[in-house]
Structure formats: C-alpha cells, structure tokens
Amino acid sequence: MTEPVVSLKTYTGIFLSLLCLTLATTLLAYLDLGVFNMVIAITIAVIKATLIVAFFMHAMYEFKLVHVILAGGVLWFLILVFLTLGDYLTRGWAK
C-alpha cells in the first residue's frame, strides 16, 4: 500500500478542534461535578488522543495491521489497570 497523504484542510480542522477541546476541558474543570470532573477530563483527553492518532498520525488511512497494533496497545494497558484495580477494589469485601 502506498503512503497516505492527508490534506492541509484536514490538518487545520483537527488542530482547531484540539484547541477548542483544550479550552472546553479547562473551563469544565472549574465546575464542581464531583466524580464527573474526572470522567469528563479523561473523556475529553481520549477524544483528543483519538483525533491526533487518526489524523495527525494517519492511523485512519493506514493498513489494517496498524489498527490491530494500536488496539492491542490500548487493550493491554487496560488489562494492566483493571486486573490490578480488581485487587484493590475488592479487598474490603472479604469478611
């Protein structure tokens, strides 16, 4: 497969979206939403990361193997986090 080329217009659009999202996440952090502050912060960070990966890093236009590698990396990070948290969050249960 030949190399994917992304248009300047797309790059600019993504750049502006990222700036807007940064502003949005900063402003939202001032509201006291309890546990949802963290949820929102992480959600927006994930959206920003997805935009960067998909367009700046051309992942959207690359061959399938790149998608598999990417998904594998994310999945393995989640395995690390959730299996460990499984221990910490259930320690108090045992009686």
């Binding site: 900063t26 952090a29 912060a41 992480i42 960067i52 393995w76 460990t84």
Partner: protein, 216 residues
Amino acid sequence: MSELRSLAVREQFATADQQRETATVGMWVFLVTEVMFFGGLFMTHIVYRLLHTAAFDRGSADMSIVLGSTNTAVLISSSFTMALAVHAAQEGKWRRLAGFLFATMLIGSVFLGIKFAEYYQHYREHQVPGFWFETSDPDPGGLQMFFVYYFAMTGLHALHMIIGIGVLAVLLFRSGLERFTSAYHNPVVIAGLYWHFVDIVWVFLFAIFYLPGLHL
C-alpha cells in the same frame, strides 16, 4: 554515492512500499512499548490516587492551570507544525519541510521552557520529593506521592521531548542537505509519529495532574 544510497531501497527489502510499511509497523510497535512504559506509571498512579484521593486533589490544587492549559495548546501547535512538516516532505518541498521542522523544534522548546519554569516554582515552594519537600498536609505521604508522580511522569515526558527535538535536529540537518524527496522521506513520517505520541502523553498528563482540584 551516499546520495544514491539514501534514496535507494535497502538491500533486505524488495520494494519501496515494503520498506515503508515495515518501518511503519516497526514504529507503531515501538509506540506500543511506549504506551506500556508510561502505562506502568499511569496504573500505579491510579492506585495511589484511589488510596490518597484527597491528598492528590490538594496536590493538583497547587498546579497552575493557566500554565498547564497554555502548555497543552503550545504542544498541540507543535504537533500541527509537525504534521505540516510531514505534508511538506510528502510533496518534496524541502524548504517548507525545513521551516516546519524548525518551527516544531522551537515550539517544543517553548513547552520545555514553561515546564521548567513550573519546576523551578515547585522547587521554591519545597515541593520536590527527595530534594526539598516540606508540607503540613494532613496526609504528607499522599501529597508527596502526588509530587513523586508529577515529577516522574512529566519528567519522563520532558525527556521524550528532548529526545524528539534531537531527532528533529538531525532531520533538519538532513533536509538542509536535500536528502528528502517526495519519493523518499520516511524518516520524517516516522519521527512525526513519535512527536505526536509524545503530545498524546501530555494530553493525559494534563488531565490527571492539572484539571482536578480546582474547587477545593
């Protein structure tokens, strides 16, 4: 001779496409190792945030949200110029390529400048674990843990930035020698992947260190 060689497909490959795809696969796999590398810190950070939630929030309250969000915007801008550099390389416009590479390095340096200014401020406020740490926090261990992670993770990120700027400097030098053409510019694309990845790490660091604790 060297001119020809840099244009050529290396001997272990059959075609230029094979060479490009192999390099792309290699770089993405490398980025996965980086995900796991930072992932170990993110995971233990999550556990300690659970064990010391209040102290971590108080730690975040000591961060400067203005500098943090400014720096996020700065780094995103550098990613944008990096993307433009890749585009210029693909079109074979080496002067534009050199310009954008230089801009990326410059903006990256601005980021590091702001970051080190923040570090200095923390140092003055005795918030550097292991060197000068004083606190009257109710959970001093928890607060220190926050700063341990803050410095470890942003420090490792800064180290990645410095390496990235070094890589870009080499590319800038080579682009000045007109080594890259529309047919051969893979190193620029690969370096771009690295630079964008480092940007993504910061997006998450910003979310976990700066955003909480604004309304304590």
